[in-house]
Structure formats: C-alpha cells, structure tokens
C-alpha cells in the first residue's frame, strides 16, 4: 500500500467516524428526551404515592409498585430523597417491606460486587433501607476500598444502632483524611453510648499514633464523660494531641479544665496557645481574664486574634479590656482590639467559630 492509499483509507475512516459521532450525538439527545418523557410521570407517581402514604392516607402497596416501576438508581434516589421527610416508625415499616422486594434483593446482592458503582448503589440503598440482617453487609461496605462506597455506607449509622457497625466505623476513623474523618464523626455522634465507651479505652493508649485523631473526634462529641481523659491529655508530648485537648476543654466549664488551659496558654506551640485562648473564652472564668488579656500581646497573630475574640466572651469586663488595649502601647495588640471591636455581631460569631 502506498502512503497516498494509506492516507485515503485514514480519510475515509475519519469521515465515517465523524458521521457516526454526529449521529451518536443526535440519537443520544433524542433517546434521553424520550427516556425522561417516559420516566418523569413514574417519578411523579412515586412522589405522590410516598406523600399520601407518609400522611397515612393510602397503604404502602402504592409506593412499592411505584418504586418497582422505576429503574433501580432512580428508585434509590427517590428513597434517599424521601428518607429525611418520613417519620422514623413509618420509614422502618417501608424498609422492612422492601426487604422482600425483588429489586431490593438484587441491590443487596451487589454488596460484594467487583464493580464499585454497584457497591455504591448498594451502600446508598442500605444507608436508608438497612435492616438488622444487613449489619455484616454494611461492615463490609464500611471497610470498602472505594471512598464513595464507604462514605455512603457509614451514613447508615444515622438510622441503625449496631455495635459492630459503629465499632467498624470508629476503627476506620483514624486512617481517613481529615475531611472524611469529620464526616464519619458526624455520623458516629448518633451512636453515642457505644462510641464513648470505646473512645475512653482508645484515649488511654498514650503512645497510639491514632491518638490525635481520636482526640479530635472527642472534641466533636463534647461529651462530659470524656472531660477527665481530655484533661489528662493536656500534658501529652505530641502538640497535635495538646491542640485537641485545648480545644475540647472549652466545652467543659470545670476547675480542672481552667487549670489545664492556663498551662496550655503558655505552651511552646502557637497553635496550642491559640486553642487555649479560644477555650478560655468559651469558659469565660473571671479569674482567667488577665491571662487572656495578656495573650492579646502574643508574638503569634493567630493567638492575638483568638485572645481578642475570647475577651469579647467575658462580657463587659472583656470588652473594657479590649478598649484599653485599643489605646495601649503594643501596636499589634492595638490592631487586633480595633479589628474585633469593629466587627459586626455576625462576623464576630463566624470568626469565633
């Protein structure tokens, strides 16, 4: 074959491909329009059936028929969408009935599929429709290597109380990226008794590399039962743990918390001092006012800002301290005081968060 013949063949192949792509685009649009015209009424029917059933006007059968007429991903979308609007007892009734539906059985069987999107579908379904018999499946999904799958699976903790599932999620927590940890934490908060019991054990292991993460989780829980452990962690050698301890203690207005925070306010790490200033502001113990006032002159600007914001929580005395600082000798402290005194209430709340 000569080069001209080769190019001629390439040109013909390209022409065919171009035509095929243009036909594909047009067919795709036509197909999608037809599909949505077919499915939209079914979706609306499911919504209507769900609304009537949620109000107690019709039996569950209408909802089940409607769901079975939808493609599985759309049925799951409808379930996830409605799960937040239907009261718990009624929703459990639906979840229990769904256990025997053919399509729900198929979705459940996908929990060990080799394809991640199938497992995601299963995890999303179980996040709103799990029954006690699904615990083993959910534990497997919570340990799934694909992040989307385990993030969806852990949402089942919103509706299910299961110790093995809670523990599986809790054990996975320290291995996750910070954002995912925060998401897990918000889910685990609902299983408080099991979590706290386990957390108390983990917070005792002082040389555990996962300790900072568990301490961070403890901060999110703000559970009084954890106060003693968090106070003990204020003297930990790892600054990351001390940051979490300083942050946690603000939620526990207690004499020991104040003592520990006073110590942490002189920490060598600025991030620890900043958190200590914030927590001292949250407790707003009058005896610590001079300390917080002094922190407005800290060399680190974050500490100065945090201390200034903390002073605002001490009421009139703190505000007066800031007014004095605003005309004081330290230029950095003056700037912080001026900034904070000028902040509108909403900005102040956002800064202090």
């Amino acid at each position: 074959m000569t080069s001209s013949q080769f190019l001629f063949v390439v040109a013909i192949v390209q022409g065919v491909l171009l035509a095929a792509l243009i036909i594909l685009i047009i067919l795709n649009r036509w197909f999608r329009l037809r599909r949505s015209a077919r499915l939209n009424p079914r979706r609306v029917a499911v919504d209507d059936a769900m609304r009537r059933w949620a109000a107690g006007a019709t039996p569950l059968a209408g909802v089940l028929v409607g769901l079975s007429r939808l493609p599985v991903p759309l049925a799951i979308d409808a379930l996830v969408g409605w799960s937040a609007r239907v009261p718990g007892e009624r929703w459990r009734e639906l979840a229990s009935t769904l256990e025997h539906q053919w399509w729900a059985r198929l979705v459940r069987a996908n929990s060990s599929s080799a394809r991640w999107w199938k497992r995601l579908e299963c995890a999303r379904f179980l996040s709103v429709g799990a029954m006690p018999g699904d615990v083993a499946r959910l534990v497997r999904l919570v340990n799934d290597p694909h992040a989307a799958v385990h993030v969806a699976a852990v949402a089942s903790l919103e509706r299910m109380e299961s110790t093995p599932l809670t523990l599986a999620a809790l054990e996975r927590l320290p291995q996750l990226a910070p954002t995912v940890q925060a998401y897990y934490a918000s889910m685990l908060r609902r299983s408080r008794p099991v979590v706290i019991q386990h957390l108390l054990k983990r917070l005792r292991r002082m040389d555990d590399p996962a300790l900072p993460r568990f301490a961070e989780f403890a901060v999110r829980l703000a559970e009084p039962a954890l106060r003693e452990r968090m106070t003990a962690l204020a003297d930990h050698t790892d600054p990351e743990v001390r940051i979490q301890a300083a942050r946690a203690l603000g939620s526990f207005p207690h004499r020991e918390s104040v003592t520990a925070l006073t110590r942490l306010a002189a920490d060598t790490a600025w991030a620890v001092r900043a958190q200590a200033a914030r927590s001292l502001g949250m407790i707003a113990d009058a005896t610590t006012l001079p300390l917080v006032r002094g922190m407005v002159r800290d060399p680190a600007w974050w500490v100065r800002l945090r201390a200034g914001l903390a002073l605002m929580r001490f009421g009139a005395a703190g505000r007066n301290a800031l007014l004095e600082t605003e005309v004081g000798a330290d230029p950095d402290a003056r700037d912080v005081a001026k900034l904070i005194l000028g902040l509108p209430a909403q900005a102040l709340a956002e800064f202090a968060a």
Binding site: I25, N28, R124, V151, A152, P178, T179, L339, A353
Partner: protein, 469 residues
Amino acid sequence: MSLGGVITNVDLAILVYFLGLNSFYALLLLLSIPEIWEQTRLAEDDDFQRLMQSDALPPITMLVPAYNESATIEASVTAMLTLEYRSYEVVVVNDGSKDDTIDQLRHAFDLYEVPRIYPETITTQPLRAVYRSRTRSRLLVLDKENGGKADSLNAAINASRFPLVIAVDADTLIEPDALLRLTRPFLLGRKIAAVGGTVRVANNCTVKDGRVTDARVPQRLIPGVQVVEYLRAFLFGRLGWNRLGGNLVISGAFGLFRKDYIAAIGGYRTTSIVEDLDLVVRLHRYLRAQKIRYEMPFIPDPVAWTEVPESGKILARQRERWHRGLISAMWEYKGMLFNPRYGRVGMLSMPFFAFGEMLAPLVEVFGWVVTVIGLSAGKLNTSFALLFVLVAWGYGMLLSIWAVVLEEVSFRRYRRFGDLLLLLLYASLENFGYRQRTVWWRLKAFVTVWKRRQVWGEMTRKGFAKPPS
C-alpha cells in the same frame, strides 16, 4: 542531498511528529471516557445534600484579584457571597485599578476600614487599606498598589484565614454548588494538593444576579468556537490527564489549592506571564522533591463561567500571552524535562507540553512552508499533500466533535437543540481559518519571547447584568 530528498525527509519528520502527537491526543481521548463516566456517576450522587448538613466540609478562602473590573465586580462578588457552602470567606484584592472598582465595592458592600493584623508571609506590593463589610461578614477587601494578578493573589493568600484557597477571577461567575462539588475529592479521602473545575464560556448566556440562568452557545464565530475549545480543553484534555496523573494546568480562573503548599513554594511568582501554569509546575516540582504523596485532579462538574474575547484583536493578545507563558514556563523548568525524579510529570506531562503544545505552531508553519516549496518545485505529489491536509483537518474536527460528545453524554448544559447544532457547526468550522489564526498568534509569542517583552494583553469586558439594588 538533493532538494527533493531534503523535502521528503523533512515532510517525513513532520508526518512522524503529527502522528506521534495525534496518537497521544487519541490516548487522552480514550482515557477521558472512563474518567468522565466515573466523574458523572460521582457527581450524580445525592449524598452531597447530606454533606451540606454536616460540618465535614473544609473551610475555604476565595481569592479574587480585581483590576479595572468596575463593570462586573458587584455582580460577581454578590454571586460569590451567596454560594451554597457552609464555611468560606471571600478576599477581593483591588490591584490598584485605574477605574472605580474600589468605589463600586465600597458602595455596594458598605465597607469600613480595619487594621491589618496578619503578617506579610509572602512579600507583595504595599497595601493601601484593608476593608471589611458591614453587611457581608464573609467579605474582606484589600486595596493595594498595582502589582499584577500574581501579586494580588499573594496578598489575598496573606490575608486568608482558611487552609484551602481558591483563585477566582473577578469576572468569573461561579455556580452556586461549585464549591461543594470542588471539595468532593477531599471528601473521597484523596491526598489532594490542588483540584481544578471546569471553566465555561458565558458569552450569550443569560445572567441574572451574577448567575448563569440559561446557558446558550454564542451566535458569533469567535466566542462560539471558543466554547468548543474550552470543552475540548476541559472535558477530554484534562480528564485524560487525570488518568495519566500529570495535570499541568489548573485554571487560574477556578482552581482550589492547599494553602500550606502554596506558601511553601513562596506563593505565585509575580514575574511569570501565566501564573497558574507556573504555580502548578512549581507545586509538582516541590511535592515531588519533598516526596509528598499528592494528586492534582480535574473534576468536570463544578462550573465557573467566564466571558471570552469577542474580537480577534483581543483574542490574539490573550493567545499570544498564554503561549508566551507556556514557552517561559517550559524554559524556566527545563530541568524537569525527561527527569525521572519528577515521575510522570517529568517523563510525560512536561515533554508533551514542550514538544506537543509549545512547539506545535512552529512545526505546523514549518510544515506548510516546506509543503509549499515542495509543491512549487514539483518535488511533492499534489494529491498526497491535499490528502494530508484533509486528514489533519479531519482529525482536528474529530477531536472537537468528541468533546461535544462528552458534553452531551455527561452534563448537557446546552439544552436547546439549536445550541447543539451550533456546537457541531463550530466544531467543524474551527479548522478553517480560526485554527490557522491561533497558530499565527502562538507563533508571534516566540517572536515576543525572542525580543524579551513581557506585556499583558488588556481584556475589554462588556460586563454581566447588575444585581437588583
């Protein structure tokens, strides 16, 4: 060697070059298929609603440099302040504008001056004043001496409070849920250093209250063809690079970065011509050198809309500057080229950008010249040359139409059938005139670099509709 021999050999070399380059484009095209499929699936996941109610989302600072943006600043900032995201702040930097940008801001958001309390971590041009808003607690405005976009971004980084920063052009309109979507890779637990979203063309779209409410394809050729160009660049170029693990471009108009990494490399370089490319290359270099595990993915569903040039003159300046920036970055970081220390970035991305993107206009023009000489000297077969041109154009068209296919099977922003036909028309017309003009503009960049001029092209904007008072 005879003239005929030289011409044949040169033509053969050019043929091999284009074969290699186009095969690589074909590879990107193929890799973009599973990538867009996965991204579309993840984008459709309703769990975002759940996430919005959780406190898991990382706080973000939006960095908004503004230079002579009086026409669009109020609408853009208003839209930025009403995004669906829990914890974020907007830092607008007036970079010594010659128009009334700062007055517009002062009036629209009831600004009052506050002292600067943070340190200057990255050195910038002097600040004139720092303002906060009485009505919008999330807004911080810096007024500074003119120092360019990179300098403004550095000033905004200094003032930012949060660990993630997103650089957004002041004339860019961000979709309400774009920030939420942009944080998806963080939620999926990946080691993210930076993440880029899609930039789309806002010309001819209906804009209401700083939001694109009706996406339309422009009727005019120049902005219309740019819609196809943007689709091609984002939907298959960058998605394909995701799979190859070496994205070199996170758009300066819409990219999210970890602040600590930017600070570690000293922020944006004020001397660079295209600051986003320069930043991403330096980030790769730093992270690879420090042996930090990271990813810099592009995700297609978070969308920002921007106004593109409507006149050839302004487009010429923009394209010439972009290419000058590419040449400058490739020259500056030539040590990374084919350097296995930088992994895929050194062995794949840098060579592609250097030889495939940077040198392409030179090779193309050289090819044209040699072909014309060969034809006039009777050393080249006319039908072969015409066939070659036809195949080259056909391939270009194929890539553009493929980008339209990806758009159609995934996000379908252009709902009207007429717009779809316009897209197909522009994808077909791009290779007849428009492409040759861009080659010329890119070629001029080499001349400018040769003369060592570094001049920013000015962008004249019409501005979007103002929000109701």
